[in-house]
Amino acid sequence: MSTLTAQPLSPQPLAPELPANHYLNESHGLKSWLLTTDHKRIALLYMASITLMFAIGGIFAMLMRLELLTPPADLVSDDTYNKLFTMHGIIMVWFFLIPSIPTTLGNFLVPMMIGAKDLAFPKLNLMSWYLFNIGAVVTIYAILSGGVDGGWTFYTPLSTGYLNSHVVAAATGIFIAGFSSILTGLNFIVTTHRMRAPGMTWKRLPLFMWSNYATSVILVLATPVLAITLALVAVERLLHFGIFNPALGGDPVLFQHLFWFYSHPAVYIMILPAMGVISELISTFSRKRPFGYAYIAGSSIAIAAFGFVVWAHHMFVAGISVYAALVFSLMSYAVSLPSAVKVFNWTATLYKGSISYRTPLLYALGFLGLFTVGGMTGLFLAALGLDVHIHDTYFVVAHFHYIMVGGTIMAYLGGIHYWWPKISGRMYPEVWGRLSALLIFVGFNLTFFPQFILGYLGMPRRYHAYPPEFQVWHVLSTAGASILGVGYLLPLIYLTWSYKNSPVAGPNPWGASGLEWQTQSPPITHNFVTTPIVTREAYDYTGIPAPALAVRSEEEASTYVS
């Protein structure tokens, strides 16, 4: 066996060439992709699926923002508007945000980061992609056959007794996609336990692995509760069993308990992998071990654990007892502590680093800003007396978009840029990358910051028309959304372009320390020629030269776009 990791690579040649054999050219044709069990190809399949779903969800969002440009209802009918926000939510939550980082970067990186050839169950991995797509197709069927309203939250008894739209079809789509989540989580847990290369101890795991592991535990434990809840909704809707509807003898608040028991941890399914990505990016681009590795790793586990006991903070005005509310408020403050610890540790990592402002780092710093604002406003919502005022207003809308969209997508795109050389074997145009990070940061804040103010003014969620005095903030928000839309579109264009046209990256263009950078780019199907033996700690940069590749200076960067 080789001692790859014991001896850092020598400085790279200035003009690396693409390797002759890699996972992308190992076999050709549609069948070789649709029947692949290679975790890297499955990651790309997922990337295609979720990008398509993101585009659909994004179009719904743009239509909503256009409608909200003026106070009266003028662009679409009330039923159409209600369907737009419902389908935007369903698609973005279950078909983009939850799968986003785990199924793409997670699938690609988990085996590579621990020195394995593939995930523990490669066929199961492919099956989970098919389940995801079947779920997506069923949901798209629900959209095309007339759509669904009721909100992504499916609150009862509205969803079970009072809607004429395609509730059961949409719930079936989510139900099926849920199994894809469970299988992916299971695969990652087993892989992390059983597939680590010799010497890859738990304390040497990259922080992305820790957060991905914590996420997988939530996926496996929480998703079945969602499946049961949606099944109960279907049973009440179709067979009129009294479960949630008081007119049939049920309890509507019971639904909310079940739903949020999944859907609150689901927020951590979205944000924990993002936190893992950010730890990697900040470390690499300050060429420094993350400050307080054990605290960052531990806080991921703490978030996953505490995340299961805060669900009723969505229900402070919904009819739970005052004392239950007290407990859930307290637990919500408890879960915010490990997130704060992460932010402080990332900031401290920059201290005395050797920082280069590459696109992935800009995305990471953007994440830091948006996540901090999102997290802080969560403290407002956890305060019982204050939540009574801002619950179910645009304050909540802004808060969870800062976390789930600002945080998760910033990290997702930062990660895509960072690992793009590994995925594709090529760089991307640096100037365009930086521009997209900037546009997304500015566009995002302009879209969602005014919504905090709207929320405190009392603008309710899910309103198709609104009092005229709120208009100015809606206009700013819609303006921001158009900038944000351009920002999201850019990487899609230049990354696609770069796949054929950008300079070849070489195995380790960033001078990074992770195992995935110790093999060629793009890797061979089995990732490593021989199983690596790990003798170094994680994030040990000694002996790894700073990036030699050409994109270091502005002048050179500009040559890639001209």
Binding site: N82, N245, G249, S286, G292, L384, H391
Partner: protein, 335 residues
């Protein structure tokens, strides 16, 4: 400036000031913390740029620092928690001297009834500087009664009475929103809270078209539905006497005891077999589907009004006669 760029809603209730106080405290603390993080990130990013600082230092971490930035935020969080909890308790404990008003939400309107019988839709007239207690229930799906100027919000559930309160501190007209998505015309389920000077309020009350008071209407129902034939005070009655029932413990056939509150009375009308009073047979028919929520509310109010052994007395002998015109045959609503 505020006209074009409004930042805060009117502060028009006694709890509004307290909520805003916590809001400004949190804005300050969180604003300063965010600023601190931003400044540190920018300073580090500039100071330790690879050109100035080509070799990163090796730093594992710092245990004392970790403890420091866990303990300090935790302390601040506990202040936020305690402050928020105190407000919440105030919001959930109506004072004793409040005017009582019932609110029924349905797709897509708010139906409001005053204690003396005045009924309104999508509007609520209240006097300034006087506590008002709302009893809320929905006829169909979950709605949410939200008045931003009062920092007031409560989900309105089907099948269950809930109570909240406010005390307006300035006159004027304020937004009433439904904040819980409730179907097609959710964004049209809006209304106005009109806060009036006490004199103007009294005048409004005396000139508004009214039904009988809810208790009066309830008595008519009680007789019309023949409830009286079983629920009598004499020893041979087939149903328990309802005199002085409200607020008292009720011993059930299964040995447990419940307190006779509004939700218990409502349940006993609609689901009579859910809780059987000790010593009686489960023979009462259900009124589920025969009464709408307003009629159930009327009955509950009538039963609440029964003092001990007063049940057989005609309602009109009571000390507070219903105000306004006497009951009409068909229900119509002002506005």
């Amino acid at each position: 400036m505020n006209r074009y760029f409004p930042f805060f809603p009117p502060e028009a209730s006694t709890t509004a000031r307290g909520v805003d106080g916590l809001y400004f405290f949190m804005l300050t603390v969180c604003g300063l913390t965010t600023l601190l993080v931003a400044v540190l990130v920018i300073v580090f990013a500039v100071r330790y740029h690879e050109k100035q600082h080509p070799h990163a230092a090796h730093i594992e971490g710092h245990a004392a620092l970790e403890v420091f930035w866990m303990v300090i935020p935790f302390g601040i969080f506990m202040v936020m928690f305690g402050w928020g909890a105190r407000l919440y308790f105030t919001q959930n404990r109506p004072p004793n001297n409040a005017i009582k008003i019932t609110v029924v939400g349905k797709q897509w309107m708010w139906k409001i009834q005053h204690a003396e019988g005045q009924r309104e839709i999508n509007a609520l007239h209240v006097p300034v500087n006087q506590p008002v207690e709302l009893s809320l229930i929905s006829e169909d799906v979950i709605h949410d009664f939200a008045v931003p100027a009062f920092r007031l919000k409560m989900d309105v559930l089907p099948g269950r009475y809930r109570t909240t309160w406010f005390q307006a501190t300035q006159t004027g007209t304020f937004h009433l929103f439904c904040d819980q998505y409730c179907g097609t015309q959710h964004s049209k389920m809006i209304g106005e809270i009109i806060v009036m000077e006490p004199d103007a309020y009294r005048k409004w009350m005396s000139t508004s078209l009214t039904m009988g008071s809810p208790a009066f209407e309830g008595q008519r129902l009680f007789q019309g539905l023949s409830c009286i034939s079983c629920h009598r005070a004499d020893s041979g009655a087939r149903g328990p006497s309802l005199s002085g029932l409200y607020g008292q413990p009720v011993h059930l056939a299964d040995g447990t005891t419940v307190t006779a509150d509004e939700n218990y009375i409502r349940e006993s009308i609609l689901y009579p077999n859910a809780k059987i009073v000790a010593g009686f047979q489960p023979i009462m028919p259900t009124f589920l589907g025969q009464l709408n929520e307003e009629q159930v509310l009327d009955l509950v109010n009538y039963i609440k009004s029964l003092a001990p052994q007063e049940q057989t007395q005609p309602y009109s002998n009571r000390t507070t006669p219903p105000a306004g015109p006497r009951p009409m045959e068909t229900k119509t609503y002002p506005q």
